[in-house]
Structures are given as structure tokens and as C-alpha cells.
Amino acid sequence: MADGEKTIASLRERFPEAVLRAGSFRDQHWAELRPERLVEICRWLRDDPGASYELLLDVTAAHWPDEPQPLEVVYHLFSLAHNDRLRLKVRTGDPGRVPSLTPVWASANWNERETFDMFGIVFEGHPDPRRILMPDDYTDHPLRKEFPLYRG
């Protein structure tokens, strides 16, 4: 079974109104969720024995300036028990606000800090919302598309 396919089917069954879109490429399946349901769904994904995604591998984002909701946060989950990867996404307007996953996984802490640093997305409820790679007094968010590669 392809990565995440079975889980997304059970997400659609259990949280039908929370799954907005889904898709796949090269047998890797992803689902876009309603941001307000994210924490609840992730807690279920971590704790349900059929899912048990104990490992939040990565949090990152992509900036699509021409779209109505330009900021997309992407999560990569891994289940050790079922050897299955899952990609979750949430979309937000600009400036972006999405709930923090720090209550579910400790690894969300640093990864969300980096995503804030690079894209300016605010993670609501984050215990330590500081920049992490750029200096504290820096004002830009370099991975946004309007940020140029060369300056001057």
C-alpha cells in the first residue's frame, strides 16, 4: 500500500469535513486539513493504534504568492509501527496563523520556530516563538518568494 493512502481514507471517514483536499505523486499521498482541526487530528494520528504516527519528522512551508491562501505549512509524519509516511498540509492567509503542534510532538518546537523564521507564519500556542536561524533583530523572512536572492 502506498504511503499514507490507507490513513487518508480513514481520516476522510472519521473527520469527513476536516479533510479539504488530497492527492498523490509517486505513491506518496498527502491531505490538506482544516487548520482549526489540525491539533485534534494529529493527536488522533499519534495515539490511534491503527495510525500511530509517533514521529513528526519535519515541519516546513511553501509560499505560493498568487494563490488566495498563499502560505502552506507541510508536515511529514512517520509511523514506526506501520512503517508508513504521511504528508499533511494546512493553508493559511498572509500573515499566516496556524495552531502549534507542540502539545503533540516536542519536535514541533524547533521546526515551527524555523518555519516562522523563514516564512513569518505564526504558530498559535507555541511556547517559545523566537527566530532560530536568523538573528533576533532581523525583520525579513527569507524563504518567502518576494525575498530576492541577491540584494544591491
Binding site: 505523486f25 506518496q28 498527502w30 514521529l55 519535519d58 511529514h76 516536542a106 519536535s107 536561524l133 536572492l149
Partner: protein, 399 residues
Amino acid sequence: MAQHLIERSEDHPDIITVNMGPSHPATHGVLRIVLKLDGETVVKAVPHIGYLHRGMEKIAENRTYLQFLPYTDRMDYLGPLAANVGFCLAVEELLGIEVPPRCQVLRVLCCELARIGSHLVWLGTHALDMGAATVFFHTFRDREWHYDLVEDLTGARLTTSYTRVGGVSRDADAKWLQDLRAFVDEFPRRVDEYESLLTRNAIWLKRTQGVGVIGAQDAIAYGMTGPSLRAAGVEYDVRKKRPYSGYQNYDFEIPTGSDGDVYDRYLVRLEEMRQSARILDQALRNISDGPVNIDDPKIFLPPKRKVLTSMEELIHQFMIVTEGFECPAGEVYHSTEVPKGELGFYIISTGGRAPYRLRIRSPSFNNISTLPLLVEGGLIADVIANIASLDPVLGEVDR
């Protein structure tokens, strides 16, 4: 000079704040940790990273896939070959291509050589940090041997850039395979030698056992991967769970620990070096003749000889070098087990010759985030043992 680094607060006259790093011999790169100390006990530790941030993910958006390859050398600069392989596999996944069998074996050789090279530096500097200087001379002697092999294969010691999308930059010749055979036959004995210096050394045991303990549950929650996670008893290795480059064809074990302390992390990495030698041995036995690169002139550079004699090949060479190759629209996450843990590349492509977004999931970044958990409540001397036992490379943390 050191005076201004120490600050006492009025409420807690006994608590002093000490700045460790960013340039400190035991931080293994430019890592800065602000420590609040009560006597010798660490009350709070706040790591600060970013001193080596070069914006690689941004740079990738403005380069062709092939032009980005040299940047992967500069992430984990103790095992650049492994990152080269990981990046090319991710792009190949996006393209939906697979490399020929001989290339897969060569890439396994690269990954395991990188693991041995990285672990040799880790062991030497780890022991040096704890005052056991002898080990360093042993491991760095053998690392020179290892680097000679890397140099003969790739032309460089550190900035290897050896792999290509769809293959490798040059085939290994018979002489090199023979040299590697000599190394593989001798290396397990060298590991025994390092072990005889440390594993039952009373001072080493006192400094490492029960120090920096992290349980399996915490290690997973913090996204820890690699030897540090396995030392906590979690048998997760991408080579076994998600085999790539034909790792399913090799017979090797995944060493795990049970206590998750500095000593277990030491034992796990030590055993990994032996297992790497075992994989190298099998790879050398099984390497077959045949092409090393895919036969697709739109993706892989043609042989130089043909470029100089045939118009068509000249055009292909020109196109690949100046413009790169087209990738389909789509997104993939592909990860490999590098010496530090799970290195993932997440590529979002909207078609074209450069990624729309390239995300690097760095194992060192997630591993080092556990540092406060490991050192708070312990002694300041153990901070150094803990940093070394996590084996971070700051080039990979900051990217």
C-alpha cells in the same frame, strides 16, 4: 576578558550565566549554549544555532538540480558522500528513474565510507573532549587512510560532489576496489583497537554511564533519529525500514542500546562501524560489471570522448550544463540514513529545471534540540560529553 560573560542576578546570587561557544573546542562547530549554573549544576541550557546558516534552501530555488549538488557537500562535511547520494536519490524519485546495479553498489560503498569517516571523527573528538587524547591519534590515522580512498575515488577529500542524477561522476577502477578491500579487511581490527582503549576504561565508564539519559519516548517525541535514537532502544534505521540503493540485499545488523545514555550512544556508533565494514565487504563481493550511469542523454552528461566527436552529444552536454534537465511537476520526500540519522529531501516541483521549494530535513537539527533535556540537572562537565555524544555537525544543523 571572561569576566563580562558571567552575569549574576540579584534574586539568585548563586546562579551564574555562562556563555559556552559559539567558538569553543568542544562544541563541534559554531554552537552557542547559554548555561545557567548553580555551582557546577546546570539549571537551564538554551542552545543558539544559526551561525552557519547559508540559506541553502533559498539557493536551491535558483539553481538547477545539478548545480545544487555541491551544496550538499557542505551540510554534513564529515560525510559529504552520504548527502550526495541522498540528494540524487530524491531527484531520481521525482524523475521516476532508477540507476543501474553497479551504480547502486557504488553508492552503498559511498554511504558506508561516509559513515565510517564521520564516526572516526566523532570518536576521536569525543574522547579528546573527555581528556583521552590517545584515541584521537588512532582514529585520525585511520581517517587519513579513509580520506585517501575518498580522494582516489572522487578527486577530493571533502567537497566530493561524487554522485550525479542518474549515476556517479566516474566509475571506480579495479585498483581502487583493491585498495578498498585492504581497508575493509583491516578496519574491524582497528575498531577493536579503539575499543580496547575505552569500553572497559574505568574513567570512561564513570564519565559516560548514566550521563545524558534520554528515554525512547522522549527521543521519538523530539524527532531524534540515527544512532542517538537507536541508543535509546528504538530500532529505526532508514536502510532497513525504507531500503534504497539495494540495501535490502545486504546482511547487516542494527545495533541498539537500552539506557539511552552517553555510553550507549558510544557503543552503538562503535558497532555501526563494524557493520559498515561488513556491508562494504559484501558490496565488494557483489559488485558487478556493467554501466554505472543511466542511458538518457536528456538527464545524464554524455561521455567526454563522444562530446568531442559528435554534434548530437555536444548539444546534450551544452543543454545539461547550461540549462539543466526538466523535471515533472509534483512533490516527493525521500530520505536516507546518513551518519547522523535521517536526512530527508522534500522537493516541490512545478516542472522545469529548478525546484520550486527544496526542504532539507536535517538529522543534526532535530538531534541537537534534545540538548536541554539531556544536560539540565547534570554537571557542567557532562555538557561536553553530551554534545559529543549527539555528534552534531553544525553545517547540517544550520544548512
